[in-house]
């Protein structure tokens, strides 16, 4: 029998990130194979408020390590403590945000554990946990088992629902900070330039409006009114980001953010394999493209062959008529 440990993610200002709740769901689904319970580990400077928020999800314990050294995230600072606490568990889980993808493989190496990244599902077969992983830009699902005593995984946020509060009050316990590794003294956090936006985060948004290379310098001018009308988050293709029309963290795709909103607009995006990998799980897909043969149309529930520079403003006007 073994237990699972969920690694919580906090924002820059110490607030609990909702992404954490998706990792809890993965842990809960793996429990039948582990036979134990799950706990949550919160690392931060002034992390008690975040820890308190996590007491209502049915965890055996909420473990907190409150230390000034955790004010700014670096994997070198975090990994020793996560590994020291994680040693007592059979499964370590975080969500596959850039935080989880940076930290957990490093923790895995410290524990000599095998790692399955960006899992889209877990199943319990023959007493073992089988992890379902998207590979080849989402064109293949591989099902794998990990044979090390400790297993480390990250959960693809769009594939696991956020855990719902189950009531109860998990006990909060302090844990000690582990001695830092030599590497920690050789890395310095310089800055985090956050893209400020009043819009929902891509990972949490129920509607996303994404634009491609075709938007040119008019990316924001054309798409913001549509996003405003729909209360949507903004996304982009790699080509739009590379060209500087949209910031890097807008990128949706195999190597950007993986999203699955209820409604996704692909505007002036051709539909390359790498882009599709990041949005094909969306419930309804709308494509606006002037090329009737653009591959994105094969995927779209509603394809509109049109010049986006006239179609998008017309769409905004039509939506406003209804509102």
């Amino acid at each position: 029998m073994s237990d699972a440990l969920v690694i919580a993610e906090l924002s820059e200002d110490g607030k609990l990130k909702k992404s954490t709740l998706h990792a809890i769901t993965l842990a809960q689904r793996a429990l039948p194979a582990l036979g134990g319970s799950f706990s949550i580990l919160v690392l931060g400077a002034a992390a008690t408020a975040a820890a308190a928020e996590l007491t209502g999800f049915g965890a055996a314990k909420v473990l907190v390590c409150d230390d000034a050294a955790f004010a700014k995230y670096t994997a070198e600072q975090f990994a020793p403590t996560v590994a020291a606490v994680g040693k007592g568990f059979g499964l370590l889980v975080a969500t596959a945000t850039t935080f989880g993808k940076d930290l957990l493989p490093r923790v895995a190496a410290k524990l000599d554990a095998a790692y399955a990244g960006d899992c889209a599902g877990v199943a319990v077969e023959g007493g073992k946990v089988v992890y379902k992983r998207p590979m080849f830009a989402g064109n293949v699902f591989g099902y794998c088992t990990l044979s090390t005593p400790i297993q480390v995984v990250t959960a693809r946020q769009s594939e696991f629902d956020a855990a719902a509060p189950s009531g109860g009050a998990s006990p909060v316990e302090s844990v000690a900070k582990a001695a830092p590794s030599a590497a920690a003294a050789r890395v310095e956090f310089v800055s985090l330039e956050a893209v400020k936006s009043a819009r929902p985060e891509l990972g949490d948004a129920s509607v996303i409006v994404s634009g491609g290379r075709a938007l040119k310098e008019k990316f924001m001018e054309v798409l913001e009114p549509l996003a405003d009308a729909l209360g949507a988050a903004l996304g982009a293709s790699r080509a739009a980001v590379d060209a500087g029309y949209a910031p890097g963290d807008f990128q949706v795709g195999q190597t950007g953010k993986i999203v699955a909103p209820k409604l996704y607009f692909a505007v002036g995006i051709s539909g390359a394999i790498q882009h599709i990998a990041g949005m094909k799980g969306s419930k309804v897909i709308v494509a606006i493209n002037k090329d009737p043969d653009a591959p994105i149309f094969q995927l779209a529930d509603y394809g509109l062959v049109a010049d986006l520079f006239t179609a998008v403003p017309a769409l905004v006007a039509e939506l406003k008529k209804r509102a």
Binding site: T98, P105, R106, Y115, E193, K257, K280, D301, A314, E318
Partner: protein
């Protein structure tokens, strides 16, 4: 500066939708697809070349670039291409993808680092076949070196690198003292993403956009550059494979393809058929 770059060959990523699954569902079949260098690894190599040259005289290398792969013999085509674009030496560790997981690759690379003692190891952020995204982070931990993952910019300072990383919500900047491990993201090959100490002072200098191509004479000359071959058992320090793929499957295809004639019909369908607005 001496840079070690890890290169993986992958089945043509632009045709990843043509990957097949064997009849027993127990392996992935990439037959018919061309082998390419993992794009992120090509970018890592380009970053290594930029860091080890003075932008004014790109042919003169200020340091050494060593490329390494874990691959079968055919993987040497990729290594020769890397040598042709400017790498100095190559190492191939004999292995097939079925012999490997991220944990083993990291152990093998650690042995190479112990022997080669580079100042910097550059890797791709992920291999786009397995989409695993773990080797760089693991290697950094095994070496107890600092790391900067998902690098979009690198600037060399005295004994350190200033690295801009693409993270959720923005750009995070770290300063890592050398030796260090850096994994690169897409934007690392933009014209002003990477500056060595030598070029940083030269205000206004820009690199080309994307990765460079090898001129024909360099392709010929690359055939004579050193390429060492090692056995996996000699570098994996007794470690065994710990990830087992028990089954592969194709995801369900979306039933898309419908068109609407204008925005009025689109809005009408979204509201009354799909009920999403």
């Amino acid at each position: 500066m001496k840079v070690l770059v890890a290169l993986k060959r992958v089945a043509d990523p632009d045709n990843a939708n043509k990957v097949k699954i064997s009849s027993g569902n127990d392996s992935v079949d990439t037959a018919g697809l061309e082998w390419k260098t993992n794009p992120f690894d090509e970018y890592a190599l380009e970053a290594a070349l930029r860091l080890t040259e003075n932008g004014k005289t790109p042919k003169k290398r200020e340091g050494e670039v060593v490329v390494v792969t874990l691959a079968p013999k055919e993987g040497e085509t990729m290594l020769r291409a890397a040598l042709a674009t400017g790498a100095d030496r190559a190492i191939r560790i004999e292995a097939t993808d079925a012999d490997l997981d991220g944990r083993l690759v990291a152990y093998a690379l650690k042995s190479i680092v112990d022997a080669e003692k580079p100042d910097l190891v550059l890797l791709g952020k992920q291999a786009v076949d397995g989409d695993s995204n773990q080797v760089g982070q693991r290697l950094a931990e095994l070496l107890d070196w600092p790391m900067a993952t998902f690098a979009a910019t690198i600037k060399e300072e005295d004994g350190a690198l200033l690295v801009g990383r693409e993270v959720d919500g923005g750009v995070s900047t770290l300063r890592v003292k050398l030796p260090a491990v850096v994994t690169v993201d897409l934007r690392i090959v933009a014209p002003t993403s990477v500056y060595s100490k030598l070029t940083a002072a030269e205000a206004g200098f820009k690199h080309g956009d994307g990765v460079r191509f090898a001129p024909l004479p360099a392709i010929m000359a690359a055939k004579k550059k050193p390429l060492d071959v090692k056995a996996l058992a000699d570098v994996a320090a007794g470690n065994q494979l710990a990830t087992k793929y028990v089954k592969f499957e194709r995801p369900a295809q979306r039933a898309g393809g419908a068109k609407v004639k204008d925005v009025a019909e689109l809005v009408e369908k979204l509201a009354s058929v799909s009920k999403v607005i």
